[in-house]
């Protein structure tokens, strides 16, 4: 069952320039992305900087307003809701940020920053507040005396735990984790990943996990969606990633990541060129500039998303050549 259904989501940021500050063009941050998130699963979104993964994540909880498209959360199109209609949903949808330093207000103690969220949504009665906060802090692996400290008294990993506690404070069902471990050291990264894993099971959370690190996604998520230049180019279960991956970009991402074992050294997959700017979108497939096996059709037409197998969707002319008929657009994109 889908908790979240995203259809044809688009975000264009206007770019202003010149003396008169006119709109001179648009950055195509997210282009026609559709996917579902099932209740209780963890969907990983992977891609390089500027691929639109973070913009997409923030649109899911309406921190950024989409240009067009719909986001249906439990049957309700949240893109159409007003600020006050959105309010009850804000409780159930939360976000964890990347930067453990800029994501906490330096002037609030842990207690006051948790308290304002809890009081705002009336999660617990006033007299149970302190117990609830203590429990929350303990649950994310901090000592109870952390409540009355300020963010600058904590290390990066501990701050990330505070960020997680804030996201959990309102008892949400759905959390967008935007690069939650990218800024952390390896050993701390493992601690935070474990914590997220435990909390997910304990509270039955549904997660969208955004990362540039395919290794982390592969370990942590159920399914992965690979994004390139604002397009979702491939979606498949993480367990099948190594064997079933079809899109040349996903393959390159896998092959460019060094293996943590000197005995398994192999030449890294090298993609030519740089990620093009989302300001100048190429016609046809967005990947043509770097793709190792381009055919003429790629330059002319945007490849359609084809569901090769249930749960494995690829947008590539070459990879889908063996599939004769593009399958009819599926009702559920799960």
């Amino acid at each position: 069952m889908s908790l979240l259904e995203v259809r044809h989501l688009v975000k264009h940021f206007p770019v202003r320039g010149g003396v008169l500050n006119r709109v001179v063009g648009h950055v195509h941050a997210v282009n026609d992305v559709s996917f579902d998130v099932r209740k209780g699963e963890t969907l990983g979104i992977v891609g390089e900087s500027g691929c639109g993964k973070s913009t997409l994540g923030k649109m899911l909880i309406r921190l950024i307003e989409p240009t067009s498209g719909t986001i249906t959360y439990e049957g309700q199109d949240i893109t159409a809701l007003s600020h006050s209609q959105m309010m009850p949903l804000r409780r159930t949808m939360q976000i964890i940020f990347q930067d453990p330093y800029s994501s906490l207000n330096p002037r609030l103690t842990v207690r006051s920053l948790l308290k304002e969220a809890i009081a705002f949504h009336r999660i617990v009665a006033r007299n149970e507040m302190d117990d609830y906060i203590t429990e929350l802090i303990r649950r994310v692996g901090l000592r109870a005396d952390a409540a009355d400290k300020f963010p600058h008294e904590f290390s990066g990993g501990q701050r990330q735990r505070i960020g997680i506690a804030r996201a959990l404070a309102t008892k949400p069902e759905f959390i967008v984790a935007d690069e939650p471990v990218s800024a952390l050291d390896v050993s701390i990264q493992a601690q935070v990943l474990n914590l997220l894993m435990d909390l997910k099971d304990e509270f039955g959370l549904t997660l969208v996990f955004i990362s540039h690190d395919l290794k982390v996604i592969q370990h942590f998520c159920d399914r992965v969606m690979v994004m390139y230049l604002g397009h979702a180019v491939e979606t498949l279960p993480c367990l099948e990633l190594d064997e079933q991956v079809r899109h040349p970009y996903s393959k390159a991402l896998l092959g460019a990541n060094p293996i943590d074992d000197p005995d398994q050294r192999r030449p890294l997959t090298i993609l030519q060129g740089d990620v093009p700017s989302p300001f100048h979108m190429p016609a046809g497939c967005p990947f043509i500039g770097r793709c190792p096996d381009v055919i003429d059709r790629c330059r002319a037409e945007m490849p359609p998303i084809v569901e090769r197998e249930p749960g494995h969707r690829v947008a590539c002319w070459v990879a889908n050549e063996d599939v004769a008929e593009p399958a009819a657009p599926a009702k559920s994109l799960g």
Partner: protein, 403 residues
């Protein structure tokens, strides 16, 4: 606030010895201002005649001529009283009783005793000092001048004890053209300076910060309007704008030297209406930065209203800039007050450093530096202390300075 005091910046600040010294000096000034405000120096005290006109400070540095003139001031005072007494058939002391020059009052004696001393004084004056062209060429006459001074002191004794200390303090820096005490006026001006500095900088920082934060945070037309206002205001030469604003108040109740507090209102309005631009610009820039930070987005994700986020999460994080701006504007206000008062547009009905400097402009030609010196030295020390404080604040709290 608690965090501010515990922060690294605060530690860095308190370790800066120069800054702590500056803070100490400012505290002394502030306490002085408070003492004046609570009645330590009344307005009357600043107007009271304490000595003949333009008596230089530190008293000792006078030439023989000045010493004669100073002594003769007291002797003449008694002489006039004695003449008046004989005409009215009254006791001379009764006439002299209210005639005080600061704490220095006439000695209580009979008219005959006064006459005896006066006769001796005029004898000295007429027989020995009359006709002498330049006393400085006749050092042998000094004992006579001293005798004259003794007589003056006998007629008008310098009070003893606490009264004596007060007298010496009042005449310490001499007197201006009206015989008013320079030291009293200079110290009283500390209050005026703080009054203008505090009121204008607090109001300007509050207005500027709120407008700046609102402009950056809400963006859109609010930003356009606020930006337009401050860029327009800042394109008008600052002194012209101030002068025009003050001229607008001419002839209203705010233009009455008899009501010194009300007469400062035009100055406040003029300063506040231009001074808010500085903090507004800075806070607007800082807010632009803060509103993109993830904790602001996190607050949005919880569902808080924009206004709540602005007040609770954005504005408190600009506090260090408010402090720095406050300090900068304080200096600005004090310095601008001097310029306005010099032009006759500023303080009315009470002394201020600006008024003192204006009054001193004719004295300077005659090498009488005491009035302008007192005003500028006091102002210089205060401005210097504030400049050091501002630098130290910037060093300690400005993220660009933090390594």
């Amino acid at each position: 606030m608690r965090r501010l005091l515990k922060s690294r910046g605060a530690r860095k600040f308190t370790r800066n010895r120069l800054a702590m010294a500056a803070l100490g000096i400012i505290a002394v000034y502030f306490l002085t201002a408070l003492w004046v405000l609570l009645g330590g120096i009344s307005m009357e005290a600043t107007r009271q005649r304490v000595a003949p006109k333009q008596v230089p400070g530190f008293l000792e540095t006078r030439t023989l001529e000045e010493r004669v003139a100073f002594a003769m001031h007291y002797i003449d005072e008694v002489d006039q009283a004695v003449r008046l007494a004989s005409r009215r058939d009254q006791d001379a002391y009764e006439i002299l009783a209210d005639k005080a020059l600061a704490e220095r009052r006439a000695a209580k004696m009979s008219t005959d005793e006064y006459n005896e001393l006066l006769d001796e004084a005029f004898a000295v004056l007429e027989d020995e000092l009359e006709g002498v062209e330049d006393l400085s060429h006749h050092p042998e006459l000094e004992p006579r001048v001293e005798r004259l001074e003794e007589i003056a002191a006998a007629l008008y004794p310098v009070p003893q004890g606490w009264e004596g200390v007060k007298y010496r303090l009042r005449t310490f820096l001499g007197s201006d053209a009206a015989g008013q005490s320079i030291s009293v006026r200079a110290v009283y001006s500390v209050k005026v300076a703080f009054q203008i500095g505090l009121i204008t900088s607090v109001i300007s920082v509050i207005i500027g910060s709120l407008l700046g934060a609102a402009a950056a945070f809400f963006g859109g037309w609010i930003d356009h309007v606020i930006t337009w206002i401050f860029s327009t205001l800042s394109s008008i030469p600052y002194l012209v704008l101030l002068s025009v604003l003050i001229v607008v108040f001419f002839g209203t109740i705010f233009d009455n030297p008899e009501r010194p507090f009300l007469s400062l209102v035009p100055v406040y309005v003029a300063f506040c209406s231009t001074f808010w631009i500085g903090p507004c610009r800075v806070i607007r820039g800082e807010t632009m930065k803060i509103k993109e930070l993830e904790y602001v987005q996190a607050a949005t994700a919880i569902g808080f209203s924009r206004l709540y986020i602005l007040v609770r999460h954005v504005i408190p994080n600009t506090a260090h800039l408010m402090f720095i701006n406050f300090s900068l504007l304080f200096i600005g206000a004090i310095k601008s007050e001097v310029i306005l008062s010099f032009l006759g547009l500023g303080v009315k009905g009470q002394p201020s450093w600006g008024i003192m400097i204006r009054d001193a402009k004719d004295e300077v030609i005659t090498y009488f530096f005491w009035q302008i010196g007192a005003a500028t030295v006091l102002m210089f020390v205060l401005v210097l202390a504030f400049n050091i404080l501002t630098d130290a604040l910037q060093d300690a709290f400005d993220p660009r300075h933090v390594d």
